[in-house]
Amino acid sequence: MRYLASKVRGNSLWSDALRRLLDDNLAVFSFLVIVAYVVVAGLASFHLIATHWQDSIGASQSAPQLSGGINHWMGLDIFGRSVFQKTIQGAYTALYVGLVSSLISIPIGVLMGALAGYFGGWVDDLITWIYTTISNIPEILLLVSIAFALGKGIETMCIALGMTSWVGLARLIRAEFIKHKNREYVAAAQALGASNARRIFKHIFPNVLHIVIIGFSLRFVVAIKSEVVLTYLGLGIEIGEGSSWGLMISDAAGELVQGIWWGLASATLAMFPIVLAFSLFTDALRDAFDPKLRT
């Protein structure tokens, strides 16, 4: 019994990675930026901030002005709504799409990659065939067809993004599983009587989990950008479903010639830090988990 209460604690790869992340100032800063966006989006989703984004608060298309409160700092849109509040709501939409589409694509990618890599043979052939097929259809075309099949809207877009974006992760996971399944520790587990499921999920999976985490972070950036692009193309968020950076940019397409620049500027300025922060953070994660860099 006295051993169980032992104070000797190991430092796992995770705590090592965390220590390395904390040593990296850029990573910490990027993470804080992400947290700030998440907090803002969270508050917006609970209607605690930017609640009046649908209300007209002044003359149509007023230019940004410092007087008149924070809601006027980024000007007003064609209906006299605050661009500032719309941008905040847009952050919520972006993160929502990022999260939901990742939650769809990552389990598919991990499972497909794990099964293909671990079992090989016809299972591998089948799964490789599926994802090669998917990755060979131009993504926009696939998204358009899913959007038409399921009807437009934010949920469809999340599903469409989720269903098309697991391929890259599945490939990585498959390669890692092929590498790990021949390692001696897996043979050792087999010799101890561990079943296939146990070897896949309990033994190999924790050894590739860092790839999943990196993949998750990477997916987020792609999803946020895809949301904007798709919405701009009229395949994403519908007018009336909520505010989105994509919609704001789409609106700006007609307004720019009239010299109304603040809608576009607000959306892109809001997008830039979160995309950059996610990209930098993903890089830092990769470095932190890379065993080759371990000292």
Binding site: R9, G10, A187, L192, T295
Partner: protein, 583 residues
């Protein structure tokens, strides 16, 4: 000795490495001389600083984190440490050459071997393409590569391990260096190849009148090569002397331990002495226990030692596919019609060179690889046809300990989780608490403190990890364990400890082993019966004593004659066959 007879003189060399945990003193005031035309053996185990010494001589210490903080390296009277990088480049490969341990990774796979040798010659000697090629052919001849005209245009993967090491040697002696540094050049090679390569190096040394610095962890290898031996331990030189003196009258307890812990071929000690018998953690000398020699052949009784495992006509073929449609063109016969029996409480040694099929045989017996044909009869029942579930249940009785303790533990699992997992699978112990208590007990039995259950594998040394692997194998109370090269990756002093542990466990728990190894001395020490394998077939099978004293087959004789005796020839001629410092 006159001053100009010394080719290289290392004086008070100190090297530090700065790590996150602080500064590590890799070398502490290391001083020794290498005379012209002589061979110095530099002996030590992993972490002793022997490789750092050679890298410092070549000016190859990575900086940062490494830093030479003190000392001189005088080569022909000039201090190499004061040389600039471009001056050092002219020394390296030209005046001082180096051969590394791994011939597989030291050659660039995308260039032909001829090109790689010629490149050195063109670089340092200014030869043109034609001259360089002629000289390369000459060199290939000298290092004993068969049909050099053909091999000169081969790529590294087309050559065997021994041939690759010969290529490395050709490259190293190409510029006729004054000093050749060999860093464990034969450790990765089979014994028969090792002997050939060592003989070749001795020949070349006399021919070119080179000095050699021969780095190894194995005192046995340098017994017949080195003129002087320098023993290193934890960054310091603990002893240097003439080779013969080192072997007869070692002064430092570490040297004594190192010499005594190799299993002797002539006598059969009950347990091996280890370095820790000669000195404690702080380095203070201890009086070792008297070595007890026993009869190598243990008696067998039908009641106590029934036949546990009976393998009949076992075959494992791997298909060789080729052509557009991947048709099976041929079979690679990894295990070809092998039959043997193992008795309860006894050890069967399985010995052979790399690629002989011994590892495949071990794994096929456990059905980690499915056999192509044959019977594996365990306690009277053939297990070849068993279903997956029945086989999983049976795994409780049959365990395996792998070669590489770094690879066979899951890096993401704590030691506690690793040891309790098999208990969980086989429903041993009522709950987690009971299992962890048993795990702690097992760790203690295997010589580790029980309070490390929450630690991860990377926090342990190689020997400690192998103890963890043994504890894990014991967690299911097996009757039978296959040790697949289980001590080959360990330092010699750790090897002795693990071998003793395996023997203790066999006595206590009445375990049955199949012990697979390429190291004949180790197999002889631990086994009752020995099976010699070559090309997937059994060459010879006899009890451990007979096979060493009266080998019947040519292959066995060749294998035996290639084992380094571990004692200089001059001493053997005087009739000294066993090094025993326990009296």
């Amino acid at each position: 000795m006159a001053e100009n007879d010394i080719l290289l003189s290392i004086k008070d060399l100190c090297v530090d490495f700065s790590t996150k945990e602080g500064v590590v003193h890799a070398l502490k005031n290391v001083s020794f001389d290498i005379p012209r035309g002589k061979t110095i053996g530099l002996v030590g185990e992993s972490g002793s600083g022997k490789s750092v010494t050679s890298l410092a001589t070549m000016g190859l210490i990575p900086n940062p984190p490494g830093q030479v903080t003190n000392g001189q390296i005088l080569f022909k009277g000039k201090d190499l440490l004061t040389y600039s990088e471009s001056e050092m480049r002219k020394i390296r490969g030209n005046h001082i050459s180096m051969i590394f341990q791994e011939p597989m990774t030291s050659l660039n796979p995308v260039f032909t071997v001829g090109y790689q040798i010629a490149e050195v010659l063109r670089l340092h000697q200014g030869l043109n393409h034609k001259e360089a090629r002629e000289r390369t052919l000459d060199l290939l001849n000298q290092v004993g590569i068969p049909s050099p005209h053909q091999k000169i245009d081969d790529y590294p993967h087309e050559l065997s391990g021994g041939q690759k090491q010969r290529i490395m040697i050709a490259m190293a002696i190409g510029c006729e260096p004054d000093l050749l540094i060999c860093d464990e050049p034969t450790t990765a090679l089979d014994v028969t190849i090792q002997k050939q390569v060592l003989d070749l190096m001795l020949d070349l040394q006399t021919k070119y009148d080179m000095s050699m610095l021969f780095i190894t962890h194995d005192l046995g290898v340098i017994a017949d090569i080195a003129d002087d031996v320098v023993v290193m331990y934890r960054g310091e030189i603990v002893e240097k002397n003439k080779t013969e003196e080192i072997f007869i009258r070692p002064q430092h307890p570490y040297t004594k331990g190192l010499l005594a812990c190799r299993p002797p071929l002539v006598k059969h000690p009950k347990r091996l002495v280890t370095v820790s018998d000669f000195m404690d953690e702080s380095g203070a000398e201890k009086t070792p226990p008297k070595v007890v020699y026993t009869d190598p052949v243990r008696s067998i009784s039908e009641t106590d030692n029934p036949i546990l495992l009976d393998v009949k006509g076992l075959k494992k073929y791997f298909p060789i596919r080729g052509g557009v449609f991947g048709r099976v063109k041929n079979q690679f016969k990894a295990v070809d019609d092998v039959s043997f029996q193992v008795r309860k409480g006894r050890t069967l040694g399985l010995v052979g060179e790399s690629g002989c099929g011994k590892t495949t045989l071990g794994r096929t017996v456990l059905r980690l690889i499915e056999p192509t044909a044959g019977e594996i009869i365990w306690k009277g029942n053939d297990i070849v046809g068993l279903g997956a579930d029945d086989m999983r249940k049976l795994r409780r009785d049959m365990q395996i300990i792998f070669q590489d303790p770094y690879a066979s533990l899951n890096p993401r699992m704590t030691i506690g989780a690793a040891i309790t997992e098999p208990m969980e699978i086989h429903n041993i112990g009522a709950n987690k608490k009971e299992r962890l208590e048993k795990a702690a007990e097992l760790l203690q039995r295997c010589g580790l403190p029980g309070n490390v259950l929450n630690r991860y594998p990377h926090e342990f040394s190689g020997g400690q990890r192998q103890r963890v692997c043994i504890a894990r194998a014991l967690a299911v109370d097996p009757e039978f364990i296959i040790c697949d090269e289980s001590v080959s990756a360990l330092d010699v002093s750790i090897q002795a400890q693990i071998l003793n542990l395996l023997l203790d466990l066999q006595d206590e728990l009445n375990l049955t082993y199949i012990f697979i190894s390429h190291d004949l001395a180790v197999v002889k020490f631990i086994s009752d019966e020995v099976l010699v394998m070559n090309n997937g077939k059994i060459v010879e099978m006899a009890d451990a004593q007979t096979i060493y004293t009266h080998p019947k087959e040519d292959y066995t004789k060749r294998l035996l004659s290639a084992i380094p005796k571990g004692i200089p020839k001059t001493l053997l001629d005087k009739g000294i066959e066993v090094l025993d410092f326990s009296q």
